[in-house]
Subunit: 231 residues, 2 copies
DNA sequence: GCCCATTTAAGTGTCGACAATATTGGCCTG
DNA sequence: CAGGCCAATATTGTCGACACTTAAATGGGC
């Protein structure tokens, strides 16, 4: 299901021997991101523990990780609450993305393998077809955009960058998209921008790649600003 | 009946380190950053727990936070190891810093208050004096540089940015500085670059501020590259 | 009826113990 | 003597229980 499933670094050998806390963390993260556990609500440790049939200790470890990813906030002796989404915070996230993904694009233009670039071209072409078929309403804004960005980030080969974006920021962003119902309405433009960016990467032009990625994200941010001000 | 639980918090002047896990986390983080717990070494939960007179549960929560800050790596059923510092990873950190702090400088040029800017000018002037007095060997490279960057980041007013830089990256960087003995030898140049950057902020020129910050960090990275290649 | 102190309940922080998994050392076999 | 299988040990994962803090409820005085 999830395209950027959380598979911490060692994504090879054993996929079953995951610890209980890990599974619990994944479950809770998905529940929070998709709004199943409402934003801003308090988290009762005994209740959640019973509900998932785990010990409070394990649950607390999972909550700790959620806190590290800024999905919940915890105050001593007061408990944890799911983070409350605000307009300002969303803008902040876009600013951080602009900086980090801009750098990712720069590095990707230098470090992506020829095969990775080819695969990305194929992926982009598929996106184009889907937009034509569905007039850009369904798939693209939902998962395709993240897909494309995800590959660019991976292509940077910078583990620090990859960790920050794929582990910390993307889940927060996904949470906003779910709960604010952010359908983009500009799939065609986004597709074009992806195309230009990919061309810069094909040309191995880091400067241009960073520039285009930053413009792309800025443009996306402005779109969000407009959309939220309409409500 | 009562077991001696309460320990009147002797060692540090922490104002509000309420929970035990918090104190333990601070202690361990410092120990790791300063190399007291060697880089790459395995962390034995029973031993550390006994050594610090805490339960294994509390220790595990602290380790979990250290893992979130990428100071330790943990593999299921195998335990945690202090992260091993590598040349490549340090370069990666500098690339991330270039992106994030560049954005921070851009935002700081827009969002810093006049008073914050004045204070920063005072701080920079002090740095200048210290460089003259000590020929730039002691204080500046050690804390002054981080001090300056810290204020710029705060001045961005972007909480996401502040969190990423001051919580996640800052300690990793400090760890490298400690263990690689990174004395800069270019305090004068760094001071000049700080000066130019601050001028851009005074002029409220975001574009220029970001450009100068990125050049400053790139220059710092190249210096590190030279230094490490000499060994 | 309202306010404040005190008691009561609920929730979080911390601990020690048990179960599952990995590592060490010894023993047997070739 | 080497190498691999197996028991014994140590370490990690998980659990339930107790201590302390905060929130809620109760009751008495005005």
């Amino acid at each position: 299901m999830g395209i950027m499933q959380n598979q911490p670094a060692t994504n090879s050998t054993d996929s079953v021997s995951i610890t209980l806390t890990d599974r619990l963390f994944d479950t809770l993260q998905r529940a929070i991101v998709e709004g199943e556990i409402p934003s801003g609500s308090k988290i009762s440790e005994p209740e959640l523990a019973r509900q998932h049939s785990v010990s409070r200790g394990s649950l607390r470890e999972a909550i700790g990780r959620l806190e590290a990813r800024k999905l919940v906030e915890r105050k001593p002796n007061l408990g944890a609450r799911v983070v409350t989404l605000s307009y300002e915070q969303l803008i902040e996230i876009y600013q951080v993305r602009e900086a980090l993904e801009g750098m990712a694009a720069r590095l990707a233009a230098q470090n992506m393998s020829e095969k990775e670039i080819e695969d990305l071209q194929v992926l982009l072409k598929e996106h184009g077809h889907e937009i034509e078929e569905q007039h850009g309403q369904a798939y693209f804004q939902k998962q395709g955009d993240l897909d494309f960005h995800y590959r660019i980030v991976q292509g940077s080969k910078n583990q620090q960058l990859i960790g920050l974006l794929c582990n910390d920021l993307y889940h927060l962003l996904r949470m906003y998209r779910f709960q604010f119902g952010m359908r983009s309405k500009r799939s065609q433009q986004a597709y074009d921008e992806h195309h230009y960016l990919l061309n810069a990467i094909v040309s191995r032009d880091p400067e241009m790649a960073e520039l285009l990625m930053r413009q792309h994200i800025r443009s996306s941010r402005r779109n969000v600003e407009r959309m939220l001000l309409e409500n």
